[in-house]
Amino acid sequence: MMSKNKKEKMAGKGLTRREFLKASAGGAAGVAVAPYFAPRLAYGQKPIHVRCHSIYGGKAAVLGRSVTDGVNMWKDEVNRKGGILGRHVVTSFRDTRGKTEEAVRLAREAAASGEVDLLLDSCSSREAFAVKEVSRDLNFIIIATNSKTTELTANPKTRAPYHFRSAAQNLHDMAAGAKYAAGLAKKHGWTKWATIAPDYAYGRENAMFFIRFLKMYFPEAEILMELWPKLWEPDFTPYVTKMLGAKTQAVFTSQWGGDVVALLQQGALYGLHEKVKIFSIDLGDFTAINPVIKAFGKLPEGIYMGTRANPLTPATKLNRDWFNGFKKTYGYEPSGWSQQAYSGLLFYQKAVEKAGSTDQKAVRDALAGLEIVAPWGSPPEQKLALRASDHTNILYTEAWGKTVNKMPYVADVLTLSWDDIFKAEKEYFKEKGWV
């Protein structure tokens, strides 16, 4: 590729490895967060150390930030009340850079250090499966706060005794979302459906579940097409024209963050959200709502969206206060990621109190089947549970609504029933042989 001459002429100054490392360290400095070991407390007790692993670079940076502030919020609240069992809480954060090997290496390091009491795995599903194996290997408590992939906890063959999930789950989200969509579709006769979901574990799984449950609740629904743009796809136009060309009446999408923004931006040029009913599970997150508002000058109305981390879901004081408290402290609205990390910590806090120690075995036993009250627990009791059978989080508010251009941007909220979700889940588990 390079001519010999060019080589000779330009060979003058090479970049040495040291110079390069120096140059790249500048880049990494912004994302590496130094561990923080609090000074010994007056009462001489060792603090409880919560470690959080997330992604702080690239397009997923917003994920890392949301999670981190969810953790910080919990820590500050706990310490203000005198800690857990009289022990102060300290936190530390590590950047896995979205790489599975790095996530595994860091998880092993944390589990083996003897310094860390709890590890939050706040990356994506890709890392979560590998990190679960670390928990199994070292009998160390790891709570997955982001991965929604059902198989992570549902498959009894791969369960790990010290592994838990505080994230919502695709199966639950979609059983709820499809029920909501089916209700409206039945009423209005929307039979021609499309799905458009990012082409990786998360999108593939939730589109599959959506189709399955939509057909279950509304057998007349016909899926015209399944579309699979890759994650962070810049061009949605051909997908839009394909949907419009087929006279699609309604579309389900699990594009999130900038992707749902781009889908709506490019769709708007063709009048997509006026011509097709959009059911977006992730538009409801403020990380998407805010840029959509900037792109349109207002939030386009009449789009159906799942809402989590919203003061209206549920519309209780506890939830409102949490939402507003977060916003006031950190200057932006919490995301589902902040909420799920916070759930995991509430579970841990209660388990330690119940166990009376941070001993891994004792806390594990306390966590399994634990019930707590959380801002987004299903009203009226606002309970949230870590199901004993599969160590996964249940009973969180599953709500959908219609966009309106006024804070908190959702109206006609419908909260879906967990009885229905469990019914749908049971059927799926039966089919998979997971019961």
Binding site: M2, S3, K4, N5, K6, E8, K9, M10, A11, K13, L15, F20, A23, S24, G26, G27, A28, A29, G30, V31, G57, G58, K59, A60, A61, V62, R65, D199, M225, L227, W228, K230, W232, P234, D235, T237, P238, Y239, T241, K242, G245, G257, G258, V261, A262, Q265, A268, L269, Y270, G271, T287, A288, N290, P291, V292, K294, A295, F296, G297, Y332
Partner: protein, 300 residues
């Protein structure tokens, strides 16, 4: 597989026209980014992975101009120039040190800059996704033609893309500076022996390539969220286009960008799950048959 909808579309001129337009639109922004990459690879022999970051900076500059002045026309001029200046600084202080070195060094250095630019962007503009409104000039009902609708902004994009490809081609093949750049691509040492300040030419070429990425970023702004790391989504595809088109060939880049766009828009109709794999297979075949790319010349 959805071959039926591909066949239906091929039989329906309106649908055909619609998918062709979407393919062309994919091609336009990609062409702008890829053309700069191709220029830099062809002339400087540099694998610039940070090129996508320059596209990103173009988008952020556009955001800032829109937020402060609010005029998209001004943004379309200022943002690319700003990116061009960034490119010149980058080349002068860093990139020029890795010319002619092993591709691994180039990769390491330019990859480091992807991280650095992402952090700089996060530091200045924050980590949350940004966006701008469709400029008011283009906020009007789409044009209807050949049974399909063509968004007004897309017409504009196509016009700008075609004008730019003609302008770049004229510049490179008809002007003295273009010829100097061409000569620098084949034999920089000889060029130096004709009294031409080749390091300066390199800086200019890098700046121009960056400017083109900046134009891409600016034009993409009303269509995509502006986010740290957004360059990553375009850099791989741009490399694919440059490699298939033949590095250094602007015409090749343009033609292959169009092919790429059309393959995607029709691929999405026919086999939405495999359309990208299909393109990579195509690339592999091209490289086996013509290692220098469709429009490239083999150079030693």
């Amino acid at each position: 597989m959805d071959i039926a909808s591909l066949l239906n579309c091929l039989a329906d001129p309106g649908c055909m026209a619609g998918q062709i337009i979407s393919g062309i639109i994919i091609a336009m922004v990609l062409f702008l980014v890829a053309s700069g990459l191709s220029l830099i690879l062809g002339v400087l022999g540099l694998l610039n992975f940070a090129h996508g970051s320059l596209y990103m900076i173009g988008a952020y500059f556009t955001y800032t101009v829109m937020a402060s002045i609010g005029n998209f026309g001004v943004a379309l001029i200022l943002a690319p120039i700003g990116v061009g200046i960034c490119g010149v600084i980058l080349e002068r202080f860093f990139i020029k040190r890795v010319y002619g070195l092993d591709a691994l060094y180039q990769l390491l250095m330019t990859y480091a800059f992807i991280l650095i630019f992402d952090d700089v962007v996060k530091f200045i503009w924050g980590i949350f996704d940004l966006s701008i409104r469709m400029p008011s000039l283009f906020r009007r009902p789409p044009v209807t033609a050949i049974g399909t609708i063509v968004p007004f902004y897309y017409l504009f994009l196509i016009v700008v893309g075609v004008l730019l490809v003609v302008a770049i081609w004229l510049f490179l093949s008809k002007t003295k500076y273009g010829k100097i750049i061409n000569a620098a691509a084949s034999d920089p040492e000889m060029l130096m022996c004709l009294g031409i300040n080749v390091p300066f030419v390199y800086t200019i070429v890098f700046g121009l390539g960056s400017l083109l990425a900046g134009v891409g970023g600016a034009l993409a702004c009303p269509l995509r969220a502006i986010t740290p790391g957004m360059g990553f989504a375009v850099i791989i595809e741009s490399f694919v286009i440059v490699v298939i088109g033949g590095m250094g060939s602007i015409l090749g880049t343009f033609v292959v960008a169009l092919m790429f766009g059309l393959m995607r828009s029709f691929g999405i109709l026919g086999f939405p799950f495999f359309e990208l794999a299909f393109i990579y297979v195509f690339m592999a075949v091209v490289l086996i048959v013509r290692p220098a790319g469709l429009f490239g010349k083999v150079r030693i």
